[in-house]
Assembly symmetry: C2
Homo-oligomer: 173 residues x 2
């Protein structure tokens, strides 16, 4: 491919990511999962501290239990697998930012393999319940569980504000 063609096909791919919350029952191949986790592993982090850890959840019973916890996590019930992100819990702002970076990479890597995904967030009592359920040490942050699976339906087209309404030149105006 020519250079501009490669650039365009890569940014087309980046732009095409949409949340998917309805999944087929088909399992995710081990190779694809490993590849997704490798993309996660190479996520950047503040000061290269690499504090993030990932719990891979395939047991449908566990996924169902998580889906019933407090938060926006119902889509875990039908997922082929869930990836829980565990953060160190020492620096709220840095953890949340790095967790967002990692989550985005995981979703993109899943999409590269034709898999759909959605960010699930535990809130309120769901975090402590999730932490206990998955045996995560006290003090760590348990917040994001990403559901992954082959899409059961075509992703929605999505809606975004026009570019000119979110971009400013030189100064905010």
């Amino acid at each position: 491919m020519a250079e501009t063609e490669t650039a365009q096909s890569r940014t087309d791919f980046l732009r095409s990511l949409r949340a998917v919350r309805e999944f087929k029952k088909t399992a995710v191949p081990d190779d694809a999962l490993r590849d997704i986790l490798e993309v996660g592993r190479w996520s950047g982090s503040a000061g290269n501290q690499q504090g993030a850890e990932i719990v891979v959840i395939k047991d449908p019973k566990t996924l169902n239990t998580i889906a019933g916890l407090e938060g926006f996590v119902h889509h875990l019930a039908g997922a082929a697998l869930g990836l829980l992100i565990v953060m160190p819990g020492q620096w709220a702002e840095g953890d949340a930012f790095d967790e967002g970076r990692l989550a985005e990479r995981i979703m993109l890597a899943a999409a590269a393999h034709g898999l759909g995904s959605s960010i699930g967030w535990l809130t309120g009592s769901g975090r402590e319940a999730g932490r206990r359920l998955l045996n995560v040490p006290e003090g760590r942050t348990v917040r994001t569980v990403i559901s992954i699976g082959y899409p059961a339906t075509a992703a929605r087209r999505g809606i975004r504000k026009p570019l000119d309404s979110i971009v400013h030149s030189e100064k905010y105006s």
Copy 2:
């Protein structure tokens, strides 16, 4: 390309992202910038609130001033441009997470165009100073400024923990 080949080339690309903090003086073409901003525009956000805005900074004087503010922002001084992310400031945790997602997408889109980038973080007094400098309304969060430009040096190889030390199966162990 065959399907698995496409998947592999895409995840190779995702994995290859490294921070770049030394830049050539060459300007970023307008088409590339617009394409990067379009990738940012399609970033996901909690509840699809799309609260993020971006200030494009090309003036070397402004970039130099930012580079001198409190934070990890020195690399803005040599950048061809800086992208400041402005968040609504009503929900600290959600803003930081969504900002991380957006920052990751912007860096990946820049890399697709052969551009290097690095996340810059304003800290302490640097945030208020940056907010005033760029005319951002009070109450909004001014934290991340991404430096972008053609790499002056080859990106470092990078170091990451082995996969097995960050991934757990079914439960944290």
